[in-house]
Symmetry: C2
Amino acid sequence: MSATTNQRAVVLVSGGLDSTTVLAHAQHEGFACYALSVDYGQRHRAELNAARKLARSAGVREHRIASVNLHEFGGSALTADEIAVPESPGTGIPVTYVPARNTVLLSLALAYAETVRATHIFIGANAVDYSGYPDCRPEYLAAFERMANLATKAAVEGQTMHIHAPLIDKTKAEIIRSGVQLGVDYAQTVSCYQADEQGRACGVCDACRIRKQGFSSAEIPDPTHYRQ
Amino acid sequence: MSATTNQRAVVLVSGGLDSTTVLAHAQHEGFACYALSVDYGQRHRAELNAARKLARSAGVREHRIASVNLHEFGGSALTADEIAVPESPGTGIPVTYVPARNTVLLSLALAYAETVRATHIFIGANAVDYSGYPDCRPEYLAAFERMANLATKAAVEGQTMHIHAPLIDKTKAEIIRSGVQLGVDYAQTVSCYQADEQGRACGVCDACRIRKQGFSSAEIPDPTHYRQ
């Protein structure tokens, strides 16, 4: 795919490996990128610091941080204090699933897109590693796109909104290889669910395990800063 | 419609006339109601204070206030400081339109619904008085419902989510009459876009004009506290 430089895109950037790769893809395709990070009370706030640095070094047009207190609702190991982050693989939908997270993230991206007149939204949803997350499925993203095209003043005025999830069917190794080709510095990204304030990873949570395995499968040295 | 008392509903309650009426409808239909107010940086914060009082006096199971800084994005007279609230009717989509507002509100309601295991969401969307708002149209709400039924762990596990907009095709006079029948005390509700801290209305903004006209058409004395 190629895009004229006139086309604006909102890119959801968490500071993690996937969304940083997505930002590199969107910029490589020629979109004028408006990065959006969402502080939803997640434990891994080190990701937000990483997001700031990564957006700046990628040279985005603008970077905004939206805050929403999903923490208030609880219900996930990533936002609730009383649920432990698991350190061994489970089955079914992981307890790290955040209720309606991608719907909230995409809704905020839609609001931001309308104010900057962007007609593209990029999200790092992935149906391979996160097969247990309902809101990482292609059919979910298609339904969000249909809804978005009825939701806004821009839509009524004839602007079509496109939701892009370029990593949706890629393995972690494929994601990492594509990012390395595009010059992504993965040492700057933070994936760990329980990173410390310096962004150093625990090495044992689900996110760390998937990431480690990705570098190993891609046969690329793992640049992650671990605290152990 | 009737419901068993086992059925839980999240009701979006702003403190305004419409959503307060919707709450009365949902309770009358027998739903166990979980009220959700959203502080999105709107000017009319007096509405949130009204929402607290109204939710308490309605006897809801729980009332939560979610905060999201849509203000950060600007783009509406209701959230941006530099756009004046209009005092005469315009044509087309009003400048008080907030980008993707109902999508953001419904997304937060969806997240809340999943954590309290509610399978119904009530919203005071109205296609008559707010004909210019794209996200008050029935086709938009239907698309949101379809998306919601792909978005969550609850949906994957077979729970169907229902979006209710009982006021969608009602005039303001019809809404007021139905609320009065259900015992709503409209003196407690705040609709004004620029209410003061005591919740007193300006009497001249779009919201005030529509509300005044509603009481007049319904031939019910207007209990609104005006500051002039």
